[in-house]
């Protein structure tokens, strides 16, 4: 079954490669945002803060923040593609209507789009990892595994974003996405340890998918292998799976009436 679905999903992926061969600059812009945060917050604010205790060791603030920015770069890459670009193709350009007239199914379509949005997340993560190396912010060779780990982040946010987008009615509704994304970025243990939150609030934040993604990436960057990383991966994969299933069912309702 996978053998027959995979080529069709890949053809949907290939369409995006065609489009972005000419628009690679659009992709490049997404790389600068985490870089600016690293410079402004990591080194700027970090200059005031100095070091931070992490696993009982004092680490430079920039080295603490950088893995979180890598995780959020992967999140942004995946989510921008699976929201804005998917909405355009779904509601305006009718690209999906054309695609579904071919042997490609809604499942193939969603897989192809998620592969692409995930690739975008991975590209940002790799680019940012190089920056981290350049600034000497990488403490462990395990950081080389982060491009693989961000695939789970890209899957979770790509699929959740795709699912959400099938419910949007107009461009105005995109405000919702920003309302979700900004606090997610700010409060998911990005700029300070999650232990800072008091009582129950901490457990709410622990359930943020970006907190899980950040924990996963930060653990790798500091070479701190722990069992909670398996929870991170499982949790992100679960969100991705639920998002994917919902997106496919919604696409069917919207396009195969």
């Amino acid at each position: 079954m996978i053998a027959s679905i995979a080529p069709r999903a890949l053809s949907v992926f290939e369409r995006n490669v065609f489009v972005y061969r000419r628009q690679w600059l659009m992709i490049a812009t997404g790389f600068f945002e985490p870089l600016f945060f690293l410079l402004g917050i990591g080194f700027g604010v970090g200059g005031v803060i100095g070091t931070l205790p992490y696993n009982g060791v004092e680490v430079p603030y920039a080295a603490f923040v950088a893995p979180a920015l890598l995780a959020s770069a992967a999140m942004n890459g995946a989510i921008f593609d699976s929201t804005f670009n998917v909405f355009y193709k779904l509601k305006y350009a009718r690209v999906y209507d054309a695609i579904l007239a071919t042997p490609v199914s809604v499942g193939d379509l969603a897989v192809g789009e998620l592969l692409w949005s995930n690739l975008r997340g991975v590209i940002y993560a790799v680019a940012f990892l190089i920056v981290m190396f350049a600034f000497g912010l990488v403490a462990s060779p395990l950081a080389l595994l982060t491009p693989f780990a961000v695939i789970f982040i890209g899957f979770a946010f790509g699929a959740a974003g795709f699912a959400l987008t099938t419910h949007l009615r107009s461009w105005k509704d995109f405000d919702f996405i920003f309302i979700i994304l900004t606090p997610l970025f700010l409060f998911s243990a990005t700029f300070y340890p999650v232990e800072i939150y008091p009582g129950a609030l901490r457990y709410v934040v622990e359930l943020s998918p970006l907190t899980r993604g950040t924990h996963l990436i930060r653990s790798l960057c500091f070479g701190d292998l722990n069992l909670l990383m398996l929870v991170d991966i499982g949790f992100l994969a679960l969100i991705g799976l639920l998002g994917y299933r919902h997106a496919v069912s919604r696409l069917g309702k919207l396009l195969l009436k």
Partner: protein
């Protein structure tokens, strides 16, 4: 309904095909066969159920009831295989605006799983055939309406489909672009492609279709070749009388006996007859004073009018 078709050669076969959306019935238990190599039409006004029928055939709209067989398979269970052998041109433009003219063909071929080299050859042939070669590297958006429609059709042929499905292919095109497209479709048909189209243009149906069904309010109300339908449902000639002040005050008695039958529209009376000139003379004898009049041969428009009591543009 008389289905004068031998099943052996039917590429598409529908029996009791029905589609409902909530309480609205869009397609109501229709039967039809499309034979191998023919140009088959669904003729009817907007909202008659033509597009819904096309969507069910194309496997993107599950039917509510009835049976549907396309190339020997059921679209509910064998959708991808069927779609692999169909070419579909939607009523609204679905070209990929983010790709060039040629790329639109290249990527579409990939959706069908065709090898890149084969697609490239076929794409160039199709661009040539549809006179788009010099625009191959251009973006889609600046193309004229006629060119976009030709590109849509070229794209739908990238998989060398056995059946080409066209939903209102010439709506919105100027007369010259329409005739260009008609010629291209005739060439395709001669090359052996089975073509199914929907239209609300009578002249289009008359020009192109070997056989057609007339749809109205979710049902098929007539079936046959354009000539058969005209012979069966309309008289030889038509006399049209024009009354700008309206036709409501003209009595039934005045209109009776001028021709074989008449239809009264808002500002026109349409009279079916053997001889239009003679009918006009009788109309004047009956005391009618139309502002203008004309005599023409019967067309599918008159068939539609006769079958539904409405004109198509109403």
């Amino acid at each position: 309904m008389n289905l004068s078709t031998s099943n052996a050669t039917a590429l598409i076969r529908a029996r009791g095909l029905t589609k409902t959306f909530g309480s609205r019935t869009a397609v109501d238990a229709i039967n039809f066969d499309v034979r191998d190599g023919e140009f088959f039409g669904f003729l009817g006004p907007n909202g008659a159920g033509k597009t819904t029928t096309m969507r069910m055939i194309a496997g993107v709209s599950p039917r509510t009831a009835g049976t549907l067989e396309i190339l020997g398979s059921d679209p509910d269970t064998d959708g991808p295989r069927i779609r692999g052998q169909l070419g579909v041109v939607h009523q609204q433009e679905t070209l990929d605006q983010e790709l060039t003219v040629r790329e639109n063909l290249l990527i579409f071929g990939r959706f069908f799983g065709i090898e890149r080299k084969e697609i490239a050859e076929r794409a160039d042939q199709l661009l040539e055939l549809f006179q788009l070669s010099d625009r191959a590297k251009d973006q889609v958006e600046p193309l004229s309406g006629g060119m976009k429609r030709r590109l849509s059709i070229a794209r739908s042929l990238i998989n060398a489909p056995r059946v080409l499905m066209l939903d209102e292919p010439t709506t919105g095109l100027d007369p010259q672009a329409r005739h260009l497209l008609w010629d291209a479709l005739q060439r395709l048909k001669r090359s052996g492609t089975t073509i199914v189209l929907t239209t609300h243009y009578m002249d289009e149906a008359e020009q192109l279709c070997d056989r057609l069904v007339v749809m109205d309010q979710a049902k098929i109300v007539a079936e046959g070749s354009p000539r058969q339908l005209i012979e069966e449902h309309a008289s030889r000639e038509v006399l049209e009388l024009r009354f700008p002040e309206g036709t409501s005050r003209i009595s039934k008695e005045t209109l009776d006996g001028i021709g074989d039958r008449y239809e009264r529209l808002a500002e026109r009376v349409i009279i079916g007859c053997e001889n239009g000139e003679a009918a006009h003379a009788r109309a004047l004898e009956h005391g009618l004073t139309p502002e203008s009049w004309l005599v023409r041969r019967s067309s599918l428009e008159d068939v539609f009018l006769r079958l539904t009591g409405r004109s198509l543009d109403e």
